[in-house]
């Protein structure tokens, strides 16, 4: 094409390597998938599906109240969820929620420690930065097809894809937040013999909270942006409706599914952000409203 380039192509090698790997190690990965399914995803989904809407809806409303203490927010969120039910999407909502809960918890469990670790080591940051770039920009399907061949169709690869995509902003913003903590405050804490853990939990994390919460917010957004992709590889839930809408240009159906996802995003985001706000901010906020 252009004179100066060699003519490289790894396509064929990659293809046969993947196939070979699948044949050789398929069993092992299927076992992992089986474990994740039977112990986390399926029971949670069952439980959620078994909960009648007239129990779930007030429960979520209560949670929202506990988190935000603002009646306006609670009403909007509850009406939103009720709307999803009225679109006939309640069961699918629950399926998506199950996936999202597990994905978000996994993201938190991996992302926070990674971000903390990264903030403390320039070298690790240099190594992780491009890895995070890859996680965010390598098109999902490129790695999803091999993953899918290993784990089988359905919830497990969807979970993996979601975590991979949601992780980077959380890691990055945790790292940023901790690095921005005022050095003189850390120094003062050090002078009292603060251990590494105490420093982390009583100084760095609280002071990095705004950044970390922004990372949380982005992680939740990313996770929910993956709902449709998840359905593309066979995970049940709201994504199915969007896909169906897309595949036959049924914009109305797609929009309903899409709106349901958005509402879910807003609900999760508002509740997590409210819990993430510092004690002080909350007091101020409560007094204001």
């Amino acid at each position: 094409m252009n004179g100066i380039f060699l003519d490289l192509s790894v396509a064929d090698e990659v293809n046969s390597a993947v196939m070979g790997f699948v044949q050789a190690h398929g069993e092992f990965f299927l076992a992992i998938a089986h474990f994740l399914l039977t112990w986390m995803l399926v029971p949670l989904e069952r439980a959620l599906l078994a909960t009648p809407a007239w129990v779930a809806l007030p429960a979520i409303a209560l949670l929202a109240w506990h988190a935000t203490r603002r009646i306006g927010v609670v009403v909007v969120l509850t009406v939103g969820l009720y709307l999803i039910g009225s679109f006939g999407l309640w069961d699918k909502l629950m399926q998506t929620v199950a996936l999202m809960i597990v994905a978000t918890l996994l993201t938190l469990a991996i992302g926070l420690p990674l971000g903390i670790w990264m903030s403390g080591s320039e070298r690790l940051r240099n190594v992780l930065q491009p890895v995070l770039d890859v996680m965010q920009t390598l098109p999902t399907f490129v790695y999803l097809v091999p993953v899918l061949m290993l784990f089988g169709l359905g919830k497990v690869p969807a979970l993996l894809a979601t975590v991979v995509y949601a992780l980077p902003p959380l890691v990055r913003l945790t790292d940023l937040g901790i690095r921005q903590v005022d050095a003189s405050v850390v120094e003062a804490a050090q002078s009292f013999g603060t251990t590494r853990m105490q420093r982390l939990f009583s100084v760095q994390l609280p002071l990095a909270r705004p950044s970390i919460m922004a990372g949380m917010n982005q992680a939740v957004m990313m996770a929910l942006a993956m709902v449709v992709i998840a359905s593309m590889i066979g995970a049940r839930g709201l994504g199915e409706d969007v896909l169906a809408g897309i595949n036959n240009m049924d914009m109305g159906r797609g929009l309903q599914g899409g709106l349901a996802i958005v509402i879910l995003a807003v609900v999760i985001d508002r509740i997590t952000q409210a819990y993430g706000v510092g004690k002080r901010q909350r007091e101020l906020g409560a007094k204001k409203s």
Partner: protein, 319 residues
């Protein structure tokens, strides 16, 4: 004035699967070399290119199965017409499949037949353990068409008609590529898998599958199966489909020569499956290479499709 021969290229939809790419390349080569048309391909997802076809953005959509509402509405609205009959022997087939080794075993890979008596859909419930679904314990997994495709809705109805609900989950892959990946991964590992599929398709050429017999085609029952809202459903196999080319009405009016070519283009299923198996094989061969070879090897076939003048030019170009 005909657009073919003018400066404005004919805009083809880029098809996302191999047989469609084969046909597209075939028609484009003939039009370019034989008729002196300019052509160009615009890639996109099926829904996007179909929408573009109906809105006049694209002019040709090769290997059209006439399955989506977009196309149906386009035809109804007079924006497009479906021309030709691309596949010989009555058109495309579809149905329920399992890999050959599931029924017959595969001595070479040391796989025993795990469902030797799986012949008809009535046998399916017996083997639900074999195709077990991890996400829904106690049921088998049937891989349906991707969500939103016409065949998905048809299979939903068939599920009712064949009373499979209690023994199988109606599992939708979500996308064609996900379905392909799931099937090939099972086949590569010699695992049992039960799925819906169609021909022509690359997997059909690449692997050996056994079709599970469905009750014979029955016009009245087929109507109930085709209608997703029908409550009472009775069993029927899917009839073969005519594969056509979606053409914008404007192009049909301006370029009768192109229409008459497309009306005649027809390829045998074996040829198609062999070609696309190469396209999708270990070494992926590009569609234009495969079509060139096909054209070179079968002048008798294509010379019946084109005008003598075009035939001469095409022969020249193929040298």
């Amino acid at each position: 004035a005909p657009q073919c021969g003018s400066d404005k290229p004919l805009r083809f939809a880029g098809i996302t699967w191999e047989s469609g790419q084969f046909y597209t390349s075939l028609i484009r080569t003939i039009l370019e070399s034989g008729y002196g048309c300019k052509t160009e391909v615009v890639n996109g997802s099926t829904a996007a290119t179909e929408t573009a076809l109906v809105s006049g953005d694209l002019q040709l959509w090769v290997e059209q199965w006439n399955r989506t509402d977009i196309i149906k509405k386009g035809v109804e609205g007079g924006k497009i017409k479906l021309v030709g009959d691309l596949l010989a022997d009555g058109g495309a087939t579809e149905g329920f499949f399992v890999p050959d080794y599931v029924v017959n075993g595969d001595a070479k890979r040391g796989i025993e037949a795990s469902a030797p008596d799986l012949r008809t859909v009535a046998d399916m419930p017996k083997y639900k353990e074999l195709f077990a679904d991890d996400e829904e314990l106690g049921k088998g997994r049937f891989l349906n068409c991707p969500t939103g495709w016409d065949c998905e809705k048809i299979n939903n109805q068939k599920f009712k008609a064949y009373k499979l609900d209690s023994s199988y989950t109606n599992f939708r892959a979500g996308t064609g590529s996900a379905l392909d990946a799931a099937v090939s991964s099972a086949v590569e590992r010699g695992k049992p898998v039960l799925f819906y599929y169609w021909s022509p398709a690359s997997l059909m050429g690449k692997y050996k599958f056994v079709q599970i017999k469905e009750p014979d085609y029955n016009q009245k029952c087929w109507e109930t199966i085709k209608d997703p809202r029908a409550k009472e459903v009775c069993p029927s196999a899917t009839p073969n489909s005519r594969l056509t080319v979606g053409m914008s009405t404007a192009l049909i009016q301006s370029d009768p020569e192109v229409v008459s070519l497309i009306e005649k283009v027809q390829v045998k299923p074996e040829t198609i499956n062999a070609s696309i198996a190469r396209m999708a094989g270990e070494k992926k061969v590009p569609a234009d290479v495969v079509t060139k070879e096909f054209l070179k090897a079968n002048p008798a076939v294509w010379s019946a499709w084109v005008t003598p003048a075009a035939a001469a030019k095409l022969t020249e170009a193929l040298k």
